[in-house]
């Protein structure tokens, strides 16, 4: 039975990963760790024995005890300060969280010589500000990170490769593109938009006013359920030391996402750009190629954007 250590457990990805294990009847033991207590029950699964511990992964002693005691066979390393916007506001905090935690984990697994596969979750942000001609981005494309967050993610990837080649550790690396889905916090654009739409509708309005950043940027949004199926399959079939894009292969502008939401809810929308949401610099367009993960791993995405939006609308309807 697989023993999964999941860092950054209280975020929305790990919750969907648990749902994936459960709905696919994969008997497994999961220890989730985070600084924040999760907002969901951990004892509601029949195939997943799940527990949670509050751990500060920046504290090497806590990491050492954790790994020594649990002896994971898989580590799903989701812990990160995953907001690009935050990284511009507090680059030090963002960078430290996104690199030092990872090193603490690697060093203990190495020290114990554990037979453990680590999934290093990286980001499409590492590709940087590419031209439309360079799209879709393949894994062999140059990395030119343009935010502190993106630099941390590239560093994590480079460290992973050093640990694979230098210490023979079993690490599989992802470059995950934008995720969307239920339970996603509203600090992320799409979830925030949908929440505002749903709230306005509940308040009896038929139009919503959104304050946004630059909505002309194009992103490759993948439903979180497709993300976690990719992660599971990479644990199972990914090649050690290899990098895999996790993405839909399609691009859509934030503006078009807003229009889709408006259409779905049959509402009007007015968008005004607020300086507060603009970043010093940003990637104009991010679309990934998912050819490699399709060919090598046999993964494919199954949930279209419209379905993701529909489910997120239902989610916000249920919690607001």
């Amino acid at each position: 039975m697989g023993k999964y250590l999941i860092t950054g457990f209280s975020g929305f990805v790990s919750r969907h990963f648990l749902d994936y294990l459960e709905s696919n009847k994969i008997n497994s033991e999961v220890l989730g760790v985070d600084l924040l207590t999760p907002h969901f029950q951990t004892d509601s699964y029949s195939h997943v024995q799940c527990s949670f511990e509050k751990v500060d992964l920046l504290d090497k002693n806590q990491v050492d005890n954790l790994i020594y005691q649990f002896q994971p066979t898989y580590i799903l390393h989701l812990a990160s300060f995953s907001s690009v916007a935050f990284s511009w506001k507090d680059p030090i905090k963002s960078f430290k969280n996104n690199t030092n935690i990872f090193l603490n984990l690697l060093e203990k697994v190495r020290g114990l010589d554990l037979d453990c596969r680590i999934l290093s979750i990286g980001s499409s942000e590492g590709y940087g500000n590419v031209t439309f001609e360079e799209l879709p981005l393949k894994e062999n494309h140059d990395l030119k990170p343009v935010s502190p967050y993106a630099v941390a993610r590239v560093s994590q990837e480079l460290l992973s490769r050093v640990y694979v080649d230098g210490y023979n550790m079993d690490i599989v690396i992802t470059r995950s593109f934008n995720h969307i889905g239920t339970y996603q916090r509203e600090i992320f654009a799409v979830s925030s938009f949908i929440k505002q739409f749903v709230q306005a509708k509940k308040n009896g309005k038929n139009e919503v006013e959104l304050m946004t950043g630059d909505t002309s940027v194009v992103r490759d949004f993948l439903d979180v359920r497709d993300v976690v199926s990719a992660y599971y399959m990479l644990f199972d079939r990914g090649k050690k030391g290899e990098i895999y894009n996790v993405c839909s292969g399609h691009g859509v502008s934030l503006k078009d996402v807003i229009d889709l939401i408006a259409l779905k809810l049959d509402m009007g929308v007015s968008v005004s750009v607020n300086e507060r949401y603009l970043r010093p610099q940003d990637n104009r367009a991010m679309i990934g190629s998912n050819e490699k993960i399709k060919l090598e791993i046999g993964w494919s995405s199954t949930i279209p954007l419209e379905k993701s939006i529909e489910d997120m609308v239902a989610y916000w309807n249920s919690v607001l």
Copy 2:
């Protein structure tokens, strides 16, 4: 009058930088900071007003006070755990020192909006394990770091670029190749070899037994006096956000360096490889192109390898 903040002050590069300012009669104020007290006098200069403070640059409060009080116009950021070998032994300590300190400095200069040029000292190690056909390495060559130390150096470089483009800060970036010269600590190969030769000679022997790592690796050694003249000229004339190789443009194997030392001292030598000095993986050959710094800055190297060795022999003769 230029106000230089020099981090990693107690190392051998800063001492040569001071000598450069003094011998070129460049009136300047220098504040050196380090965890270790320097082994040299700071009050022996006529053109350089120099003082030293013991500062832990990992402590953000100490960095903040330091920069606020000194208000440097130049920062020569030499502080680092510059040993590749050490980074394999303690990757966490090496990585943290080589990235978090740099971020602490950048953030305070940014916070105060200081008119200050920062020289980010990077390393040729970032290029990684290249083939002989790819030599000499130009600045536009891919980076594929193969040690924890090298990853930290690449991260520093990527962060520098983000701070230049995103926050409009004035940072010039180097990729410095191997330095050699007087005062260099014996944890570095060439200095260690010369010390052992000189010690053996003083003990009346005419042959020395060296325990080494892989001596077939080829490196581009630059005399530290040429290094510091490059740094001074980059402060003066380097282009913001640009990357410059600092190197001789010539490669020599460690084995050939050993033979040169033996010839110089008219001694025999036997070399045995000790596992302890072997690294999990290493760059086979590192030779840089110095075309860019020559053309754009007007710098050139002036000290041949034989002269560096001669002076290092004299140095070890004087201290042993």
